[in-house]
């Protein structure tokens, strides 16, 4: 796993890799286009790892390193949960747990014009999409999807939000549905909004149910699929 020998990438896919590990030797592969995601970098003829995590591969040619941490680094096209911090004349300042405050233009809503600018109080929770995220600049957000429709973006009312690591967010958004959500969904009815920046919003019919769901999700991070099912079932049994 930590071997520095440049094996073909298939050895290391889905394995833990550390900075300095060589993942691909380009001299042995000719006439191929490889797409590199986060955590990888090209050093002349080799692709080496920059960030510790798991190496992932998706057909036909995408490689990236996935790691779970509390910090969020904004990327374009991520759906995140933001908290309104302030409002200016032309955009809202929204905190998305990244290194810089993000801007949400006041017109970035479906059918948004100067006449119907929404009013958000400080501390409002929004489900937004990251439009632009360049290093060193404040990220730009939008409450519409790429085609201009609102979709589910917008303000989230009531409910409870908790913070988690980016790994848990990705797990909750994975398909097929993550086992803990499946098991909880069989007995309880609730709605969640997961932000890739490590924030999750939960709402259910009553506060105790919301608390059960939130705690189950927080505790499911280190567990495998089967363990998650068992944990969720035990929790539900205790409650009912």
């Amino acid at each position: 796993m930590e071997s520095k020998s440049s094996g073909s990438a298939t050895n290391l896919v889905d394995q833990l890799v550390y900075p300095g590990d060589v993942v691909l030797d380009l001299s042995s592969m000719t006439n191929q286009t490889i797409k590199l995601g986060g955590g990888l970098r090209q050093d002349c003829d080799v692709i080496s790892v920059m960030k510790a995590g798991r190496l992932r591969f998706s057909k036909p040619n995408k490689y990236w390193v996935e790691s779970s941490q509390k910090r969020y680094v904004p990327h374009a096209e991520d759906s995140v949960l933001g908290i309104v911090v302030d409002s200016r004349s032309d955009n809202f300042l929204v905190d998305i747990k990244g290194p810089a405050i993000a801007f949400l233009p006041v017109l970035a809503f479906e059918g948004g014009t100067r006449r119907n600018i929404p009013k958000f109080e400080v501390g409002a929770l929004l489900y937004v999409r990251v439009v632009k995220a360049n290093p060193g600049m404040n990220p730009e957000l939008s409450c519409t999807d790429a085609s201009g429709k609102a979709g589910e973006y917008g303000v989230l009312k009531e409910g409870y939000m908790f913070e988690c690591s980016t790994g848990l967010s990705r797990m909750l958004l994975s398909s097929p549905t993550c086992p803990v959500l499946d098991t909880l969904g069989k007995k309880l009815s609730f709605e969640i909004a997961v932000g890739l920046n490590g924030r999750v919003w939960v709402i259910a019919s009553s506060p105790p149910t919301t608390i059960i769901v939130a705690n189950a999700l927080i505790n499911s991070e280190p567990l495998s699929g089967v363990q998650q099912k068992i944990m969720a079932e035990k929790l539900l049994q205790r409650v009912q």
Partner: protein, 450 residues
């Protein structure tokens, strides 16, 4: 400016509304009831007087040190106690390094008031030379992780570290008796502080709805609550200090209710702290004994001989070292040790020099900790009832009959114990080299004799 905005934790309106509405149904966000404490874990460091407390996710570390200084002029016979707090920036993004902020000073003051006003630490025993040299005890509290309710956690850490702190022993010497000799720990066993009682801080949080009161608030609850009160009480129900820093007004009925709650919680907390300290002390004593287990021969005669030489040291934790012996060796050996130690007691009594009660093998062990007078009094008092005391619990690891036997012997009042103990001990000494089953019979007959 926007850079600074990005780095703090923010409260959403959703969370504020949710926490309050959940409390109306008597649930808190982490599943606790409104009056439940989070899980408490007390760990001790290698040095005497260092403790780390984990209350849920909140972590606080405390370290006690002592220095010889000149006393204050208006209190020439008393030592001093001072508390220093450090809010490390790794605990919370809003903590800045450098001078303590307002909350750091407040935390230090609450703990200081609880210990000083109630005179929990006996400062007069810290005086070496009146008006010239006294011990200045310094407690340093470091906040490692802020997940709410720092005051309670820091208070527990301070108490735990004060209970396990040992200061060097000093004696006066020189021609005029004015020279102070500080003995290093290898030469003379360091002494514990004299602590009369444990003032435990209990923090309450109030919300905009008057009937909502929570105990041990978490970080999020602290951001939402509108008022707080910290009551410092000891297990006897004495109120040592109360702190209510502004915030929402509370009716006196609610305050009295909270004080009663705090009394119950203080009792629980005191028991937990004492348990943890006791466990730590016995582990430490165990370690010290293990070091010399090779020198303390299994052979009975050899043990007696080596014990004889160490007869004169009378300090030591009698119950503690006895426990250690029992745990350390297997049954036969422990019997022998008891036999020899009881022989020790016997010879001590013959000398008339011991103040040992029955069952005190401590005199031969020079490395065990000094006895905590409160613990000693408590355990001696509990002996009379022969109820399962703490020491009995650990003795269950060895033969079950044996502790009963010892407790029985112990339970007799001192005078009769001296005589009957001697005769009993006499029997067991002779039997020390005999096989186990015979010893059992003898013990049975000695029981009958009792």
């Amino acid at each position: 400016m926007e850079q600074r905005l990005a780095n703090c934790w923010r409260l959403t309106v959703n969370e504020k509304k949710f926490i309050e509405s959940a409390l109306l149904s008597d649930v808190r966000v982490d599943g606790r009831g409104p009056l439940d404490y989070r899980k408490l874990n007390i760990k001790f460091g290698k040095n005497d007087g260092s403790a780390e407390v984990q209350l849920g996710e909140t972590r606080v570390m405390s370290y006690v040190s002592a220095q010889l200084v000149q006393p204050y002029r208006d209190r020439p016979n008393e030592g001093t106690l001072s508390i220093f707090t450090e809010f490390s920036p790794m605990a919370d993004p809003s903590f800045e390094p450098g001078r303590p902020g307002e909350s750091a000073v407040e935390l230090g003051r609450i703990i200081d008031r609880g210990l000083r006003e109630s005179r929990a630490i006996d400062t007069e025993s810290l005086c070496i030379l009146s008006a010239k040299l006294v011990w200045a005890i310094r407690v340093d509290i470091h906040i490692l992780d802020n997940a709410g309710n720092l005051v309670d956690a820091a208070n527990i850490a301070a108490l735990a570290s004060l209970l396990t702190f040992r200061r060097p022993e000093c004696s006066l010497g020189g021609e005029d008796g004015q020279q102070v000799v500080v003995h290093p720990p290898e030469v003379r066993e360091p002494l514990p502080l004299i602590i009369h009682h444990l003032p435990v801080a209990v923090t309450f949080g109030y919300f905009s709805n008057e009937n909502l009161v929570v105990l041990d608030p978490t970080y999020h609850e602290e951001a939402v609550m509108t008022g707080r009160m910290t009551a410092t009480l000891n297990a006897n129900g004495d109120v040592c200090a109360i702190q209510k820093p502004g915030g929402q007004e509370i009716s006196h009925r609610v305050i009295m209710h909270c004080l009663r709650l705090a009394h119950v919680k203080a009792g629980d907390m005191t028991a937990k702290i004492k348990d943890a300290v006791e466990k730590h002390n016995t582990e430490r004593a165990l370690q010290k004994i293990k070091r010399h287990s090779s020198s303390v021969a299994v052979d009975v005669c050899g043990t007696t001989a080596s014990l004889g030489g160490k007869q004169n040291q009378s300090d030591g934790d009698k119950e503690g070292s006895r426990l250690d012996q029992l745990k350390l060796k297997d049954e036969t050996k422990s019997m022998e040790c008891d036999a020899t130690s009881s022989a020790q007691v016997q010879s001590n009594k013959k000398d008339g020099s011991s103040k040992n009660f029955v069952g005190g093998p401590s005199s031969w062990d020079p490395y065990s900790d000094c006895v905590n007078s409160d613990l000693l009094k408590a355990s001696l008092a509990s002996r009379g009832h022969s109820t399962p005391s703490k020491k009995k619990d650990s003795r269950r690891e060895t033969k079950p009959e044996e502790p009963q036997n010892e407790v029985k012997i112990d339970s007799a009042p001192m005078d009769t114990a001296l005589t009957s103990g001697q005769s009993n001990e006499g029997k067991t000494l002779k039997d020390a080299v005999k096989p186990k089953h015979k010893r059992k019979k003898k013990k049975g007959s000695s029981n009958n004799a009792n």
